[in-house]
């Protein structure tokens, strides 16, 4: 075999295993589900039905409710978590703290637990007779019924998600902080910039890309949230914590409305793509 021919074939041989898997388990299902989103699935066959699935979804109140719920949870959870993560990362980066390895590990530890186990644990902690209510009672306040109040059920999911993911985001932001050269702060201090000014003029601008990345992944995670509502609240009370993914799971694998589930998942993809573009545009450097 000539050298040139070999160099032509070799890369394709290396890429082939991944590429074949990619074609069969990513490209083909994407095409299939686009077609299925315009039809219904019966007896192993797809029969086309035009835009019926999409018009069903657009007129289905509970689908809108699910999108609204997802946004509600995300709009509270993501900002709270990112502020917390930035705050903690700055604390951890401070010269005043010793034993950083220990703190870093301890705050990172919630990332390790799988989504189901932590959801089960939180559902018991928030039980009417559970630890959180006992604590509230001890402090002389009135224990709450977390599962029957829509607002509290949403809060419960926000708290659980924040517990699990803050440490992860903190680690990423911390890695960004460690890349900012210390001389910048020294120079700023000589020029008379205070701590707060340094934070907003140096830290935040130089962390821009890190924060943007954390934001995009957190927003995508929030849009795709399924496990917490499925296990902690079962979507309730009265559908107030039913997220889009929870709705689509029930539509597809409880009611076996495959066509509608596919159409709905493309609505989700559209939302994910749109939100990502908006965030990337907003985060672009102005100059």
């Amino acid at each position: 075999m000539s050298y040139r021919l070999k160099m032509k074939i070799a890369p394709w041989c290396f890429i082939a295993p991944f590429f074949i898997v990619f074609l069969i388990f990513a490209v083909y299902p994407v095409i299939y589900s686009v077609i299925l989103s315009f039809g219904t699935y019966k007896g192993g066959q797809v029969s086309l039905s035009g835009l019926r699935n999409y018009s069903f979804l657009l007129s289905d109140k509970s689908f809108f409710q699910a999108i609204l719920n997802t946004f509600k949870i995300g709009l509270i959870q993501v900002p709270v978590m990112i502020f917390l993560a930035i705050f903690l990362a700055c604390l951890m980066n401070s010269r005043l703290i010793k034993g950083k390895g220990f703190f870093r590990m301890a705050i990172f530890i919630p990332v390790l637990i799988d989504a189901v186990s932590y959801s089960v644990i939180f559902s018991l902690l928030f039980n009417d007779k559970g630890f959180i209510n006992s604590m509230i009672a001890r402090m002389g306040l009135i224990p709450q019924s977390w599962y029957t109040n829509a607002g509290l059920a949403t809060m419960m999911i926000v708290i659980a998600q924040t517990w699990k993911w803050t440490g992860y985001n903190m680690i990423i932001i911390l890695s960004g902080l460690q890349n900012i050269p210390g001389e910048l702060y020294e120079a700023a201090a000589i020029d008379g910039a205070g701590r707060i000014q340094q934070f907003f003029r140096i830290t935040i601008p130089l962390l821009r890309n890190m924060i943007l990345m954390v934001l995009v992944t957190s927003v995508n995670g929030a849009v795709q949230m399924f496990t917490e509502p499925n296990i902690i609240t079962h979507g309730g009370p009265t559908g107030s914590t039913t997220t889009v993914m929870f709705y689509l799971y029930n539509m597809g694998f409880k009611n076996f409305n495959f066509g509608i589930a596919c159409a709905g998942s493309y609505v989700v993809v559209a939302i994910v793509v749109l939100l990502t573009i908006v965030q990337l545009q907003a985060g672009k450097e102005k100059d």
């Binding site: 070999k6 160099m7 070799a10 890369p11 394709w12 290396f14 890429i15 295993p17 991944f18 898997v21 990619f22 388990f25 990513a26 490209v27 299902p29 994407v30 299939y32 589900s33 299925l36 604390l91 401070s94 005043l96 703190f103 301890a106 705050i107 990172f108 530890i109 390790l112 637990i113 799988d114 989504a115 189901v116 186990s117 959801s119 089960v120 644990i121 018991l124 902690l125 039980n127 559970g130 006992s134 517990w163 440490g167 992860y168 680690i171 990345m213 992944t217 399924f226 496990t227 499925n230 296990i231 689509l248 799971y249 597809g252 495959f258 589930a261 596919c262 998942s265 993809v269 990502t276």
Partner: protein, 278 residues
């Protein structure tokens, strides 16, 4: 002197804040481990929140009665381990192909693969379910493994790592008559240990916690992975004592914890690398 006192106060406040965070992150773990030793009523008894119970053995038998938990642990381990090995192999090969060769359409193809990352796997579950039922692979571990393989993140990570590998080394081995496959396995791959470790850890942990895909694909209790099995116990109509449920959660967490303690440093580095997606 005044300055020094001020610094001391500041560092004291920092420590206090961090201590609060550490308590908040560790407490649910501690509570879970303790609850695994409690009876049903002790789980919800505040007095016992910080005390060891004596019901661990009974909880274990209750858990075994409700679930074939050792089968479930084996399923999780099998799926996560096979998935990780396959990911390491095919992604490093693809990363090599994309980084060390020039060919027509290379960059376009790479961008297409990266763009596919925007589509979450949940979105593809309906077509994958139909596809696997036609291939007779519903209720099989292979469905879970295969559906996770097209993720482009590993290809991206391996390509990045290999871009900085000196091409001269590969080139001179070529002149010495080494074949392409031999180059890859004996020269390049052994130098990719950090990237491979990161990718391996990340893949294993993600697959261990995978819930949606096995929930859709599996329907035999013996084959369930641990998360699916535990979610079964947490169904509202399922009657189980909560101590046993918490013991189940412990058994889901412990393997990852052990894994974490062994690879601690690589672990956090891997997560950091994992964060830097496209």
């Amino acid at each position: 002197m005044k300055m020094k006192n001020k610094t001391r106060l500041a560092s004291f406040i920092c420590y206090c804040l961090l201590a609060v965070c550490v308590v908040l992150t560790l407490f649910p773990y501690l509570w879970t481990f303790l609850a695994a030793t409690h009876t049903n009523s002790q789980v919800f008894n505040f007095e016992y929140s910080f005390k060891l119970g004596s019901n661990l053995i009974q909880n274990y038998y209750d858990l075994l009665e409700a679930l074939p938990i050792w089968n479930n642990l084996f399923s999780s381990l099998f799926v996560a381990a096979v998935y990780t090995v396959l990911i390491l192999l095919i992604d490093s090969m693809a990363g090599y192909g994309f980084s060390q060769y020039q060919f027509k359409g290379r960059d376009t193809l790479f961008i297409v693969i990266l763009a596919a990352m925007m589509i979450p796997v949940q979105v593809l579950m309906v077509p994958l379910y139909i596809q696997f039922s036609k291939m007779n692979m519903v209720d099989s571990w292979w469905g879970i493994i295969l559906s996770g393989l097209p993720g482009a993140f590993g290809v991206f990570l391996m390509r990045q790592a290999m871009l900085s590998f000196p091409r001269d080394l590969v080139e001179s081995a070529r002149i010495d008559g080494a074949g392409e496959a031999r180059n890859f396995f004996t020269i390049v791959l052994p130098n990719m240990k950090p990237a491979l470790t990161s990718l391996g850890i990340l893949s294993f942990v993600n697959q261990w916690g995978n819930y949606y895909v096995p929930l859709v694909l599996l329907n035999t209790t013996e084959k369930y992975t641990v998360p699916v099995a535990i979610s079964l116990l947490a169904q509202p109509n399922f009657d189980i004592n909560y101590g046993a449920l918490m013991l189940g959660a412990c058994m889901a967490v412990l393997p990852i914890m052990v894994f974490f303690l062994i690879f601690q440093k690589n672990f956090i580095d891997g997560m950091m690398a994992g964060a830097i997606k496209g």
